[in-house]
């Protein structure tokens, strides 16, 4: 029996975890900072080196990691409902492929960072519109058609990415590879991602019970009064925007969008009213911690965060899939 009290408890718990993960991200690094000093630095009443490091280096990066992890998990949960497929993730419809082509193309031309971000965002939107337009076809877009179109567009983007990598000069390759794996050391400002996260949750939560019904089939949902066509259009746009903003900020970080909604679903069930905010918080926690590890375990060397999320994500996902057959496609 779903109750509001249980939902609030779950969300409160995850919010505390989120706060803890942010504190860890601000404290850890080549210059360890104590919790008290973090508080002082954030309140702005000191100007020493530690405070400067926390304020201008670690805080934007931690917030970007948190917001993007949350966006990817939210988009993943939405895509899984939209495609009624537990194996869907935010990239399944070619959004990251499009973003990769845009970002790598901009890097190949030697454009500044701002235009690389712009390229990623335009690429993501172009791929989204392409898939949506093609899958819509004669007006009725089934899940299978949408999924197939997305997979094919993603494959096409993959080929273009391979082409760019093979003709790119040596000195640009490292940056490109890091972008493809997801990397927060060149992250854009966290503001757009935080704003998108707030907007995304505000837009999705009022419709979360409708989404519960959508997950049970179009006909069931429509018979119970859910405006399915409008809802699916809205979910598609929202998931695509969330993914595009996340990918633009951090590159194509993998597995957060697939694994986090699953983890949360296994822990608390598939009620979207709890699942959506809980997955967003859990995604934020995972990416914040993964990024903290990525910049500390082999410091001063930095690892691309996408490698860590995948290294954590793949075994966890395989474990869940073998342990619980009903969590997978059935």
């Amino acid at each position: 029996m779903p109750t509001r009290r249980r939902a609030l408890l779950v969300i409160l718990l995850l919010a505390l975890l989120g706060l803890a993960s942010l504190v860890i991200a601000l404290a850890a690094g080549s210059l360890p900072v104590s919790a008290v000093d973090i508080g002082r630095a954030l309140l702005g009443d000191t100007t020493d080196v530690a405070a400067e490091v926390v304020r201008s280096l670690r805080l934007p990066r931690a917030l970007a990691a948190f917001a993007c992890g949350a966006l990817l998990a939210l988009a993943g949960a939405l895509m899984q409902v939209l495609l009624r497929n537990p194996l869907a993730d935010p990239y399944v419809l070619g959004i990251s492929g499009g973003a990769s082509v845009g970002a790598l193309g901009a890097m190949l031309l030697g454009l500044p960072a701002l235009l690389v971000h712009g390229g990623a965002f335009s690429g993501a939107l172009a791929a989204t519109l392409l898939v949506f337009g093609l899958a819509r076809g004669e007006g009725s877009w089934t899940q299978t058609r949408l999924l197939l179109t997305g997979v094919i567009v993603a494959a096409g983007c993959g080929a273009v990415v391979a082409l760019i990598l093979s003709i790119a000069p040596e000195n640009k390759l490292r940056g490109m590879l890091f972008w493809l794996m997801g990397d927060l050391s060149h992250a854009a400002s966290p503001a757009p991602a935080l704003l998108m996260l707030a907007l995304g949750l505000l837009a999705a939560l009022p419709f979360s019970r409708d989404l519960n019904l959508l997950a049970r089939g179009d006909l069931t949902a429509r018979a119970l009064g859910v405006p399915v066509a409008r809802l699916r259009g809205g979910v598609y746009v929202l998931a695509a925007m969330a993914t595009a903003v996340a990918v633009t900020t951090t590159g194509a970080v993998g597995f957060v969008g697939l694994v986090v909604p699953h983890l949360v679903r296994l822990a608390i069930g598939n009620d979207q009213r709890v699942l959506l905010p809980a997955a967003a918080l859990a995604g934020g926690v995972l990416l914040t911690l993964a990024d903290t590890l990525a910049r500390t375990i082999v410091a001063p060397q930095q690892l691309p965060v996408g490698v860590l999320t995948a290294l954590i994500g793949v075994p966890v996902f395989l474990y869940l899939l073998t342990r619980s057959p009903r969590g997978g496609a059935s």
Partner: protein, 256 residues
């Protein structure tokens, strides 16, 4: 008194195939209508048209005196419920959660299911013989149990008009009778209307007041079940000769 369901001059096509043309009938409160026809004659399409989920090519459908466009999707969902054929369970869910989906049209945007909703859902589960199943995962149910769960969700919805697409699918004999008796009791005691697609002529004869036969190519026949269900019409309907047997007052049809 306004009819629960009023159909006037209805034309329904699937592509170039005509399901019904010039179809008109009224279903009063407490009446049960059985739809019979061969595979692929458009019974499901007609049912979703009657549910307001598909625009008819022509004609009007009124539910409790209002057309679907005027009622809106939410109000319509409070008045009529649809039991679809087959059930998708892509994600895990418990039996109680699944029964509770019927409460959706009665809850506000931010409202959660309350005690009363839980009581209705549990009552509905008990009515289809799933009383002890609340905490079970839907994936662990058998086909027949899953079908009864879908019926429970529909009962929890408490509509005035039930549209049932093959409600007896996957059910064993005792549950087939139990489900038909359950709906007959609701019709008699609460005055709800029932429209059901059936394949069993003898059950239709016993549990329906009216019958609608779909012959294909738009030809239909609607009327009191006793009058409409005859050897002549049914043999024509199924393209196979039938024979009528009598046991006192009761009539039975068996394939020849």
């Amino acid at each position: 008194m306004t009819a629960l369901l009023s159909v006037c001059d209805l034309e329904v096509n699937i592509g170039t195939v005509c399901v019904a043309a010039g179809l008109g009938f009224d279903l009063q409160a407490g009446q049960r209508l059985a739809i019979l026809g061969r595979n692929g004659t458009g019974k499901t399409t007609l049912l979703s048209t009657l549910a307001g989920l598909r625009e008819p090519e022509a004609g009007t459908i009124s539910l409790c005196g209002g057309e679907y466009a005027a009622l809106g999707a939410r109000r319509a969902a409070q008045l009529r419920g649809l039991l679809p054929q087959g059930h998708l369970d892509a994600f895990q869910s418990t039996v109680l959660e699944t029964a509770l989906i019927g409460r959706h049209p009665h809850l506000g945007r931010w409202a959660w299911e309350g005690r009363e909703d839980a009581r209705l859902a549990r009552e509905a589960l008990a009515a289809v013989d799933l009383a002890g199943f609340s905490a079970r995962e839907v994936h662990t149910l058998s086909g027949g149990e899953r079908q009864r769960l879908a019926i429970a969700a529909l009962l929890a919805q408490q509509p005035r008009l039930y549209l049932l697409d093959e409600p007896l699918a996957h059910l064993d004999l005792n549950h087939q009778i139990a489900v038909l008796e359950l709906f007959s009791r609701r019709a008699r005691e609460d005055g709800v209307g029932i429209v059901m697609v059936l394949h069993d002529i003898n059950l239709a004869l016993r549990h329906a007041d009216r019958a609608l036969l779909l012959f294909g190519e738009g030809r239909t026949l609607e009327g009191p079940a006793e009058a409409v269900l005859t050897v002549e019409t049914l043999s024509r309907l199924y393209g196979h000769p039938l024979r009528e047997m009598r046991d006192g007052e009761r009539r039975y049809f068996v394939p020849d």
